[in-house]
Symmetry: C2
Subunit: 465 residues, 2 copies
């Protein structure tokens, strides 16, 4: 049930009402974040005391325990764990790979298994390589040219896209579905160019799926660093007899028990209207998951603290949700939405931070035109903090399942230029997060939460009066 | 003399004229920068093959030779060196400092001499410390409490300022004038908290001046890292008898010959209307000067290449100027303006990049209201590249001396959050510059140059017709 709808509408048409109070509140939030923010210290612990938090790992459980304890210490109205079963995939001993020009003449190259991949045979896998620029090339080549080989997906991210997430979207099908598709043509394995705009030596993992491929037909898939990809491509052009060898030892185990971590400030006037702010607590295992998505978790936690510390009591219920298993299963996001539906909870707003802890530039917003306009009407309030982007677009993977008509979903949009330098790789580590940039993100999120709470949202189809 | 003024005015009032052509040209510029930009390679050479380029040093001369050779290779209409005498200050052997709780109980702390400072006595300088929050505290304390001591300026940069350059401006008087002022009260030396928003172990140098202090009254001044400053402050609060020791070996030598490096594409229609794009080639000596201001130099060089490669022939004369000696003398900027005035050259526009190689956010503009409005009218053209800031403000130190009524001066404004982590310190190094961020800056500059060239500027007081 929505309340104060008429008031909300009045406010949409008079955006300068109470401007001074709003300006003061935003200033208080940003000042608190930049002088006394807790996000960076929390991230330091998550990254340097716990580390990579792959679903089902000991570290993931440590992260659940740690963040719950931190939320407990904030004096919220409720803190609880929401059980969710998660897949457990383990990398095993590190991967090994080389390019073989001829027997005895080899060059090692950095690879890592894609998350969810099967292992190679225990002695590894060696075969000729056929390079493609995407899944669509497979059909043109046909089974004759693919069977018995390793398919090498080498379509790079498009450097001319200013939003690097668009460049990622333009490539990631190779990683996610490349093995399932190549397997249909008799390929023995798959090597995918890392989703990275830089030339460097870090392989970038990420999720992949076999679809309905029977277990005995699944072929192993690994990512190769961008420098490695360029070397492999150059080598097979010069020497079609070159072979590629790789060995990986990963394994899918049984699902295990895990948790979403949830903290709540219960609304003072409309406790049944729920606002969610969150990130995902799991990460890949190669780095320490600082940008993806330790940053989003600690920013979301700090949103509640920032509002408390600045003396703002939400009228609506505000929850921080640290979702488990975004990376390889989305179980946490799905579970949270399922429980919410079963309980008949009324979520009016959800905001996710899962694009790195870089300087915030604005929000992508998935909402009705009226709600989008209301938020865009707050543009001037954000201008002093150099927050300029309020565009229609996707929000976040974990909050997506909550989507209902009339609800406002949003994603924090930090600067994206450096994100894929680190994404899912060994160098997604704490020293690459800047304290101020992280804090500005938390303050930007808290500011939007404050405005949504104060003015409510506009449920398009349910307008009364 | 300005031309096509009426046309320029028409265009101001019809900003969508030729939008498609402009959109295409900007897209071509950004695409070229992001796929084939040369700025990063040039910066790699400047930073890793040459290194820090303090005025008068061998490295500064190597940078002159290298950048001239690179400009020569671009097929410009003219490339030349403009002679300018520059001060030569040398650091000598590295500084050394410690806090002495009592004789024999000492803790070393990282310091560096401020640029232009005198040395300590050859055995170093040891004295009690008096902490102040700024120059204004000196008068309150008076000579009795200051004479014979080391004055410790410890006012930190204000973390709540979103534009970190404002926080810098709020502190830098301590560094620039702290020694001259403290010397008047009989202080023996000065230690200044590094201009850094982070807590770390890097001391940050920077220019200082003695004003009209006689040579024999000049006292040595050094910067201490922020961690060192916090330790020193805590120590003297607990133990007023603690002493500080430092030794530095710097020296001001005679002025030496150096050069501004200049390249030009001569205007095809209005060759006498000159546009300048530039940065400063000198840097401090502690790091390799990648952000300050190698980035601005290579971006400026690439502006001319980007326009050439995209097939755009400027109607007006476009010069890249790599200014010498911005850091400790401003001789290059002053010389360029002096020569331009002596020759009666007509500069209509100058753009400087000297705020780091980070993601560009826009421009600060020093111009008449009409010119500011014309540039703000191009906002939509820049939106696809997430360039949102077009505000009135300062431009750049080197181009400042060119200022005349009717002229447009502008500064590229990159994201400023990380700039002072590196500014004037040992960690201003190449690995902290992101290739895409650097390239986006070059493309943003080239885009503004293109628009200024195409539509001209509006000289307020000289409107004809």
């Amino acid at each position: 049930m929505r309340t104060v709808l008429i008031l909300a509408f009045l406010l949409v048409s008079t955006p300068f009402f109470s401007q001074t109070e709003d300006e003061k509140q935003l200033k208080a939030i940003y000042d608190e974040a930049l002088t006394n923010g807790k996000a960076y210290d929390w991230l330091n612990y998550l990254s340097n005391q716990i580390g990579g938090r792959l679903s089902g790992s000991v570290q993931a459980q440590q992260a659940v325990d740690y963040t719950k304890a931190q939320l407990d210490s904030l004096g919220l109205d409720k803190v609880w764990l929401q059980p969710v079963m998660v897949p457990k995939w383990v990398r095993g001993v590190p991967e090994f790979a080389y390019i073989e020009n001829k027997p005895g003449l080899t060059t090692n190259v950095p690879i890592c298994a894609l998350g969810g991949s099967v292992a190679t045979p225990s002695g590894g896998l060696k075969a000729s390589v056929i390079e493609v620029k995407g899944i669509e090339d497979l059909e043109k080549l046909g089974r004759d040219k693919i069977a018995g080989k390793i398919v090498f997906y080498n379509r790079p991210m498009d450097p001319t896209m200013i939003n690097t997430f668009s460049a990622y979207s333009g490539c990631v099908d190779q990683r996610y579905s490349g093995a399932a598709e190549a397997g249909k043509y008799g390929a023995l394995g798959v090597i995918v160019r890392s989703m990275n705009l830089r030339l460097d030596d870090y392989p970038h993992t990420g999720s992949m799926g076999y679809g309905d491929t029977p277990v005995d037909k699944r072929i192993p898939a690994a990512a190769i660093s961008t420098n490695g990809a360029d070397l492999l491509s150059a080598t097979i052009k010069l020497n079609p007899n070159a072979k590629f060898y790789f060995k990986q030892n990963c394994k899918q185990l049984e699902d295990v028990q895990s948790y979403n971590v949830i903290g709540e400030i219960t609304g003072s006037e409309y406790p049944k209207e729920i606002m969610v702010v969150g990130g995902h607590l799991d990460s890949w295992d190669l780095g320490d998951g600082s940008h993806d998505d330790g940053a989003g978790c600690v920013q979301s936690m700090d949103v509640l603290r920032l509002l408390k510390e600045t003396g703002y009591k939400p009228k609506r219920t505000l929850r921080v949700v640290l979702f488990m298993n975004e990376e390889n299963g989305m179980r946490g996001g799905n579970k949270y939405a399922e429980v919410a539906r079963n309980k008949g909870e009324d979520h009016i707003f959800a905001l996710e931070s899962d694009s790195g802890g870089f300087t915030p530039r604005g929000f992508s917003i998935d909402a009705s035109e009226e709600n989008l306009k209301q938020i865009q009407g707050w543009r001037d309030l954000f201008e002093p903090y150099l927050i300029h982007m309020f565009y229609e677009g996707g929000s976040g993977a974990d909050i997506g399942p909550l989507k209902e008509e009339g609800m406002v979903l949003a994603g924090l949009r930090p600067d994206s230029q450096r994100y894929f330098d680190h994404h899912h790789a060994e160098n997604d580590t704490f020293e690459h997060v800047n304290k101020r940039e992280l804090e500005l993100g938390a303050a930007t999120m808290a500011s939007l939460v404050y405005l949504i709470d104060k003015y409510g949202t506009v449920p398009v189809k349910k307008i009364k009066g």
